[in-house]
Every structure is written in C-alpha cells, then in structure tokens.
Symmetry: C2
Subunit: 211 residues, 2 copies
Amino acid sequence: MLALHGYWRSGAAWRVRLVLALKGLDWTSVPHDLRHGEQALPTYRALNPQALVPALDTGAAVLTQSLAICEWLEEAWPQPPILPADPLLRAQARAIALVIACDTHPLANLRVQQALRRDLGADEAQVNGWLAHWIGDGLDAVAALVARHGGAFAVGDTPTIADCCLVPQLYGARRFGLDAARWPALVAIEARLLALPGLAATHPDQQADAA
Amino acid sequence: MLALHGYWRSGAAWRVRLVLALKGLDWTSVPHDLRHGEQALPTYRALNPQALVPALDTGAAVLTQSLAICEWLEEAWPQPPILPADPLLRAQARAIALVIACDTHPLANLRVQQALRRDLGADEAQVNGWLAHWIGDGLDAVAALVARHGGAFAVGDTPTIADCCLVPQLYGARRFGLDAARWPALVAIEARLLALPGLAATHPDQQADAA
C-alpha cells in the first residue's frame, strides 16, 4: 500500500493527501514531527536526502517533492484526472500550482522562518511582515490567474492540481494572520473542494498526529 | 513562432531556453530588463499577472511558470523527450527539477534579495550568507539525488528537465560566490549538457540583451 511520509500541518503533504483522496486511493500515514526535527534524522534522510516532507513510498521506490508525487499519481491512476485534457489548460493548472509551490510556500515555511530569526535577527513583527508579504503576493497572483481560467474550480469546473495546492496555502495564510476574505473567489473554491466526498478527512486537524 | 519573454540572466528563463534547444525548436526573444523593473510594467503584467519571467507566447496562449512551460513543450513536441519513459524515473527527474525550482532558486532571486535588504535591514554579508546557505543546501540535495539516479546526466544517460534546472542553478551559485567544485558530479553534467549541439547558445552571456 502507498505510505505517505508527512506531518499534519505540512502544506506540501496536504497537497498529496488531496490528490490521493480525489483519486479514491488507500494509503497509510507515516508521521514525522517537524517541531522536533524528526525529518532530519538519519532514518528519514535515507529516504529523502532533502530532509523535507512529504515523501511517498510506492512499494517500488520512494518519491519526493509533492508536485512530482502528484504527477506520478496522475500517470499511475489517470481517473479521475487532476489535469485538464487540453494541453494549454494543463499548462495553466500547473502554472497556478507552481505559483504556490515555488514562489509562495517555500518563502513562508518553518525552515525559512527559523533562518530569518537565527541568521538575520528578525523579530516577530518582521517575520510576520515577511510572511504576509510573500503569501499575500502569491495568492494575489493566483487570484488573477483564476479570474482568467477558473470556473467552479481554479481551472475550469473540475478539481485539478491547482486546487490541491491552493487549499493548503489558504490554510497557511490564515494561520499566519492574513485575512482570506481578500480572495473571495479562492475561498469559494476551497469550500467546493473540501465539500467533495472524502476530502474533508484530508484536513490537517483530521490527521492522527495533529496536536 | 514561439516567443519567449525573458531576461538574459534569469535562471528560470534559461531553463526554458535549454528545453527549446534540446527539442530543436525555433523561437524569438522578448527581453524585459529586470534591473529596471520592466517585468512590473502594465504591458507585461497583462501577459503575466505575477510579473515574473519567463512567459511563453505560443500564439494561442501566454504560458507562465518555467516548469509548466517545459511540460507543455514536452507534450507538444515529445521528441526528443525531456522526461524518462519509466514513470518512477519521470518522478525522480521532476523531483530534482523541483528541488531547484521550489526550494533553491526562489529563496535566492532578485526580489528576495531586495526584500532582505529593504524589509529586514540585511547587510551585504548577511545577504551573501543567506544565498550561500540556501543555494548550497539545494545543490547538496540535488547531488545526493543524482548519486542515486544519475548517469551521464542527472537521471540516467540522456538530458531531462532535471539537467535544464541544474545548469542555471550552478551558474547562479558561482555568480553569488559559491565554489561549484563542491559538486564535481554536477559540474561534469553541466559540461556534458552545454557541449550538446546548439546548447551553448542558450548561455546568458550569449543572449542579445546581455549587458
């Protein structure tokens, strides 16, 4: 069975949980407590040299990087698809996912917050300002792209990889004090996605390791 | 004809130039001088609301985010492929590309350097320390993954999207003062890629807008 190495509050791990749920796949959870640095232990580094979650043990290999895992799931279990059939729309869905996965989430995650405090002496107000700036900037860009390509979901009227990145980023935005009401169309998409059968169980608060 | 909106020194734009060259495609260059903020002008924002390069005008649509553009090129012109045929190796190639595109490059680009100085009061030594930390960390992870999956190139013996991300990141590492000799296997791959027919012309120094 598929085994997902993750952490309840990891936005990148949540992306994979959403795709697994959309495809109706069974999986087991292998939690690593990031607050205690468990992702840096030698046993986990042997699986993922980058020492980040998530990683997916397929039984045949350990895959890393959430979007690479999602693309593999799409190729291995094509139905229901998480990418549109039209090539140009596939590119738009991937672009929205990448705005979040490349230009938003990595600037706001735990290791960057720690480096801001440790290496640059940033105080809490500066860290919060940093998070608000980059998360706000990223979600503003997503909102602009969704205005062009979206329907009931971020691209068209069925869920894609874009929605699976958007929902965890909105959770992260609220967690760090941003008012998600700034992006009403994105909040509406979030509600639609989490209302689909089985999707609510992917929420961080529903994970066995949630504290 | 394909029109690539870029900037000579943008590592993300270079990724796309490498894929275009590997596939032997013709394209025209539309440069935007990032040092003068041209990517933030309304005319460019109308094409890419994120105000970042690259963007690819296909004639039918404007695509953004370098890896989404590369995946579209792969779907539109499958030969020669930039992803392995084996699904698990495809995931490994994408993972290496994403280590760079998500967890390395976005922490070291111009807009982040500007924010470190402007918002956090970082001095030059702190900015250089930040760049060395994140670029070094990312390339260390890439080297570990290449040790598992690599051959003549990052994954196996033919060029993939992983190599097209790696080469610009090595250029960025040297530009910011890191000694690339720390990653001899990656430097050897870089030399092999740029020695392929037509690939040297993709180098930043060879672009018409290079200054």
